[in-house]
Symmetry: C2
Subunit: 388 residues, 2 copies
């Protein structure tokens, strides 16, 4: 397999962008990444698009062809492929792009992720998001997506003594980081009280434990590492890629405090990279709910099982901690346009490793990680990046 | 890149399968392919699933994880990836599987395609199918999917003198072939009169010019060619893979009688394979409408532009013709469970090259081709297969 580098990144503002269409967002992030990579459109050999549910959010399937059309690359009949794994759609799009370059099939590949969520009602949006879980055995029986995560939180609190305040600390940290990110949906710091007094969604999770519905798009440009220096002085190599599945329904898991898919994907990515957890300086993890970040930093091997809440409370996942988690603000504060999220994570990590993350820069960051989840953990994809 | 072989195939019956769920169909085709490949489930390293719109047909996204879960391979955390390009979803899933093996990332890869279409009303199904076209500029303005193909047919008849009878001959041939296929949705021969007297859908296309709504699933198992002999005495190599895009909307094309994406994908696949059209003995092409097969056999280079109708009328695309097209019955008679179709095409070609196609066997078939289309041609994917 050939070695693969990221040579360009682009991202739109995330938020409730009522004046932007899906195609406008996709093209915006794409143009920005192509410009950052200093390539011309006719050098692009393939496009991969991560998207969860344009079929229901905007009644449009076939969205990779749509983006190829409106970006102009369909004129050269460039192959365009949409991939989907609910919340992990962006991360698996990145993996397909990685594979396309690693295999030698294509040289310059664009990977985008996009979702336009706010054109439907809140209740419709909630139903669509729940289609990431098992429709027949969870959703139709009344389990909502926040409800399933509430089960995980309750069990984690019971088994490990994780506290309600520690859950809040995840949101507080990610809002603090997000306040430094000009593209974030929420750029305002909050404190524990704000979280603890916010409306209940599914006990014990309150509204400030939940990532918002968002519109947005993100893009990265990949090429073989040995070509990367033609385009940029600061290429970032993708040194590890791991993907894994687990049961779609939560009720089929032996332990709902652990995401087996994250653990398997993590092991595969580190093995491919020849690195270990202590090498990682900065990580973007899938905090669609506060409990998800606590479970993630445990399953990724940064902290022992059960100690994620404590580590967060002690500040070990913020600046000057062991590993800085979600400098972008994470899904909680940067926003979570579902299909865009996994690609947005890569955009943030590449910015960190290039040293261009401005006020949220992690000093001397050399190795970064992304962890992107679909459903309640039925899909996990982990990537490792290294400054060249 | 490593060379890639198909070592197993499986397919369900296609039809209105009201007593089968999406997951039951997916598992059925998968088990059958795994059994045919003589592998055990724990040898599977990755799963790719082609599916167009489970989000709307059965309100379930994240279907690759669903199939991984219910097939048992999620227990080993096997990566599972859904890909979508409307009608070409199955074909691009095959291409992702090909890439995963060619790259060296995985050895044994399962590629499935599935769609469960008959759980919604006919009008809802029609709206979902139209989401393969440009929602903003075609569908919302009243263009239906049959309507867009009717425009193509009308123009083809005007420019090249293609006749209404020649369109009918596509359906007559494919029903004749389908009658020999025990898995086909329609296993009854028809004649020109049946087509010409059938109800009008969108002039000049009548109901017998249109592929049906279907439920069904199909699966192939891939591995590196140099491992294939461990599993089977009759491996079939995938010698060429080409994918291409075009404008999503028909109104952006210079010529609606030609699918530029088919032409580009064809050129790429033949170039990779080092073969030419005259080498092809048998082909499965995307006859979602009768006009589509006529355009396909022209754009694939089997016949000059404008002569597809005449070639069909003269029997050049049936047994004893230049190239036998749609021995399975095609989308028209075998059925068209959208995401399954591209994989079902591969199943048929592999059966032909193995010499196991029974009553519809093409004598001494050595090289086969599949052509799978998304929308009105915004995605095309062409594969070439060769008996080893």
């Amino acid at each position: 397999m050939r070695r693969v580098a990221v040579i360009g990144v682009g991202i739109t503002e995330f938020g409730e962008l009522w004046d932007s269409s899906f195609r406008k967002l996709g093209i915006g992030a794409g143009m920005s990444a192509v410009s950052d990579a200093k390539i011309s459109a006719d050098q692009i050999e393939a496009l991969f698009v991560g998207n969860m549910s344009a079929g229901r959010f905007i009644r449009q399937e076939h969205v990779a062809a749509l983006i190829a059309d409106y970006s102009g690359i369909a004129r050269d009949h460039i192959p365009a492929t949409r991939v989907e794994a609910a919340g992990a759609s962006g991360g698996i799009a990145l993996r397909q792009g990685f594979m396309a370059v690693a295999s030698g099939l294509h040289d310059i590949v664009v990977v985008g992720g996009a979702e336009k969520m706010t054109d439907v009602s809140d209740i419709e949006s909630s139903m669509i998001q729940s289609s990431a879980a098992d429709q027949e055995w969870e959703t139709e029986l009344g389990a909502t997506f926040p409800g399933l995560h509430a089960l995980m939180a309750t069990r984690h609190m019971h088994d490990y003594g994780t506290t309600r305040e520690q859950l809040a600390d995840v949101a507080v940290k990610n809002h603090r980081h997000g306040a430094l990110n000009p593209k974030a949906q929420f750029r305002r710091e909050i404190n524990r009280d704000v979280v603890l007094r916010s409306p209940m969604v599914a006990s014990p999770l309150r509204i400030f434990d939940c990532a918002p519905s968002s519109d947005g798009a993100a893009t990265v440009v990949l090429c073989p590492l040995d070509m990367a220096k033609e385009f940029t002085d600061s290429p970032v190599e993708i040194v590890g890629s791991g993907q894994a599945s687990d049961s779609l329904g939560l009720h089929h898991r032996k332990d709902i405090c652990t995401m087996g898919a994250t653990r398997a994907a993590t092991e595969r990515a580190f093995k491919m990279a020849g690195l270990s957890q202590k090498d990682v300086d900065v990580a973007e993890v899938h905090d669609n709910f506060t409990i998800s970040e606590i479970i993630a930093i445990e399953d990724l091997g940064f902290f022992p099982k059960g100690e994620g809440g404590k580590a967060t409370e002690e500040g070990l996942t913020s600046f000057d901690g062991d590993v800085v988690v979600n400098t972008s603000g994470g899904l909680k504060a940067r926003g979570d346009p579902i299909g865009a999220t996994g690609v947005a994570q890569a955009v943030e990590i590449v910015s960190q490793l290039r040293g261009t993350a401005d006020k949220r820069q992690v000093k001397d960051a050399e190795v970064g990680l992304t962890q992107n989840i679909g459903g309640t953990g039925a899909t996990a994809v982990v990537h490792l990046f290294r400054r060249v």
